[in-house]
């Protein structure tokens, strides 16, 4: 049942299946497909910015559509579905239950994704992924904006259904012999983000409906011409999407807790500290949303409150980093590709966390706000930490999914190229921001420094893009022709790999 590709089955049997591994596989294939599609848009954006002036994208409106769909795709069609896919695959195995609590609901939640994705891509809106009013209400062209709004509603509903399923599976279907404080930290991370999604998403869902009725002209919640307040939208938006940052991040943190002890051949340094840090992050994560809005004209008191709220979340992230380093410390580390991706992700997590502290320190925010610094910062966390971890975990799960091994050498080349590429692109973008270049610019003033840094960033982006094409080649080829994996211990670590029949948690 676990071996998907080893025993070939007709395609329709996987597509209409309600088994958790089949749905997990569909989620993974779906999300990796959209990672590549969103990545193609990013490369087009980088090609456009390689030189000042109009390059390959015909006009500014198209450019705006590119970065909107790129952002929406990477967040909602790559990061969230990939975590849901791995969750689907592993959670029933880790809590030792036969399947998810509600298999049919699980299938419904997955099949809402292609519908929402289709609407986002067919509309190709130009709102920016944040869709700030009044632009999104009074100026954004329809029907693209309407398709974006309803596409996101469907994706949000899918996340809510998935979250309910995870919460019930973990809390109600966990094997009675497995105490919750012995449960895998990956299961803890999925539990944490499921609760966060249930609390956070309804706020944005409401804001989307309000945006839609405002567009119809029958309400004026965010329309100043009708007495509304555009800043109210930003509060509703970021109340969902700052916690969402942790929703993207925590599954990655959980995956690192799965991989690091195994490849270090040591138990986790402090299991309790990991659990406590999850609880802290998933609650304090709700106390910092307005640090995205420090420049909208808030009072000094409000700004101070949200700066403190933001800084308060940092020690919990630092606890995770400490835990990983302490786990690796003195271990006999096996530097297989998944572990390399994990270590790379930890290094960049540290860098992006430090950048986040700079962003929230009030006077400094007015240098970095809405500049390329911010673009570099959030890409460092989403691409450098979240996506590198996810990629490493995809390699780690590959034997479990296919029963075969990927090509280790190509995977290592992928890591080296992706890691250096990411540093080149996003560290350069930090500097570009300090030189004053704003984000979301179709064209820029031909200053020598700006041109040079944009060219460095574009080159790095193409290296990352090429490395991911290599991954796709490696995974496709290996799933058909790779050597059969030793399913007890495919990485030769000396520990039992996932065995869904009699897996004991390692502690």
């Amino acid at each position: 049942m676990v071996l998907e590709v080893k025993k070939p089955r007709p395609l329709w049997e996987i597509i209409f299946s309600t088994h958790h591994t089949d749905i997990g596989l569909l989620y993974i294939i779906f999300s990796v497909t959209f990672l590549m599609m969103g990545g193609a848009l990013a490369l087009a954006i980088r090609a456009e910015l390689f030189l000042p002036g109009q390059q390959i994208i015909p006009d500014p409106a198209t450019f705006h559509r590119f970065f909107t769909v790129h952002g929406t795709t990477m967040l909602f069609l790559w990061a969230i579905p990939f975590a849901a896919g791995i969750g689907n695959y592993l959670i029933p195995i880790l809590v030792r239950y036969k399947d998810m609590a509600w298999p049919k609901l699980n299938a419904v939640a997955f099949w809402m994704l292609p519908v929402g994705a289709g609407m986002v891509w067919l509309g190709f809106a130009d709102l920016g992924w944040t869709a700030y009013p009044p632009y999104s209400i009074i100026r954004a062209p329809g029907p693209a904006a309407e398709l974006w709004i309803f596409g996101l509603k469907i994706l949000g509903l899918s996340s809510i259904l998935g979250s309910i399923n995870f919460v019930v599976t973990i809390l109600r279907c966990k094997h009675p012999d497995l105490p919750i404080m012995k449960m895998s930290l990956f299961a803890w991370s999925i539990l944490a983000i499921s609760f966060m999604q249930l609390v956070a998403i309804p706020t944005f869902a409401a804001a989307l409906i309000m945006t839609y009725t405002d567009r119809l002209g029958i309400s004026g919640f965010f329309n100043p011409a009708l007495g509304g307040d555009p800043i109210a939208y930003q509060h509703l938006f970021w109340f969902t999407f700052h916690p969402e940052v942790y929703i993207f991040l925590l599954p990655g943190v959980g995956m690192l807790y799965e991989m690091i002890p195994k490849f270090s051949r040591k138990p986790i340094y402090s299991y309790q500290s990991g659990v406590i840090a999850f609880m802290l992050l998933s609650t304090i994560g709700f106390a910092s949303w307005a640090h995205h809005m420090l420049a909208v004209g808030m009072s000094f008191t409000e700004k101070t409150v949200f700066m403190v709220g933001t800084l308060a979340a940092v020690p919990a992230s630092a606890m995770h980093v400490f835990n990983w380093i302490a786990t690796m410390w003195g271990g006999r580390i096996k530097f297989a590709a998944p572990m390399l991706f994990g270590i790379g992700a930890i290094l960049l997590f540290f860098a992006s966390g430090a950048g986040g502290v700079v962003n929230t320190a009030l006077p400094l925010d007015f240098i970095t706000h809405d500049s390329y610094w911010v673009v570099g910062h959030f890409h460092l966390i989403l691409m450098g930490t979240v996506s590198l971890t996810f990629t490493g975990f995809l390699y780690y799960m590959f034997p479990l999914i296919t029963g075969r091994m990927y090509n280790e050498k190509l995977a290592k080349i992928h890591f080296v190229a992706a890691f250096t590429g990411i540093i080149v692109v996003f560290m350069t973008q930090h500097l570009l921001g300090l030189y004053g270049m704003p984000r979301r610019y179709f064209d820029y003033v031909p200053l020598e420094e700006w041109i040079m840094m944009n060219q460095i960033a574009s080159t790095g982006a193409w290296v990352v893009g090429a490395s991911y094409l290599l991954m796709i080649y490696n995974l496709l080829r290996s799933s058909a022709k790779g050597v059969f994996a030793n399913m007890r211990d495919p990485f030769n670590i000396g520990e039992i790999y996932y065995d869904y029949r009699r897996r004991e948690p390692i502690h």
């Binding site: 002036g53 009074i138 402090s270 800084l311 630092a318 400490f322 004053g436």
Partner: protein
Amino acid sequence: MGHATIEWVYVGAVSALLIWVGAAAWDVERVLEHVPADAQTIKVIGQQWFWSFEHSDGTKEINELHVQKDTPYRFEITSLDVNHNFNVPDFTILMDAVPGRINTLWSQFDQEGVYLIQCREYCGYSHYNMKAQLFVEPKLETAAAETAAAPAVAPAAEEQKPTGDVTLTILEGAATQGNPDYDPKELSVKQGQTILVDNVDAMPHTVTSGEGPSDTNSGKIFDTSIINGGESAIIDTADIEPGTYNYYCSVHPYMTGTLKVE
């Protein structure tokens, strides 16, 4: 299981560092929030896709802002359509321009020169091209400042509508993408004739030669610069070589037309 002491020490060190960063940031920001009592007020209005400024003496400027060195200024920033962000990177001036709200911040310029004003909040088609120039000029004595300000007001007093041989009208509603803009779209004139560009729209527009904002030869052949809503400008074709020229509106680059000089 690990040793809790090491972790407590580590968490304590991280927290101490963060408290220091937060306290230092708060302390700087506290000073920045305090506007000096003698600050002059400048109203800043963002619109798709240009900046307009109004000084405390009533002088108005579009896409150019003249200020004096070492004088505190208090900016009252707002927008008339969508969100913008008033940004002068060289002086770390950054504040959202939000319709229906007036945001304030203050600054004092300590170096003379010309600096870039840009928009940092995504605002649609020409977001990247919503630029203005900041001129920091030497500080004048109070008496001299009054005489210097006087001629700037004078031209506004002359209410004289110019006339031309041919009229090019900028139609009402032209600022919205897709609406009819220039009338006629293709204008033919004989060399030496003057063209009256009559802006009957409520928004400011220009007639600027070139293919668009990324054309480096923009405005080299003819350029009316900003014509406010309801006002007009003259293009003299005496110095223009015969030929066909494309032009566009530098505020709304999707407004385009052609001029044929015979």
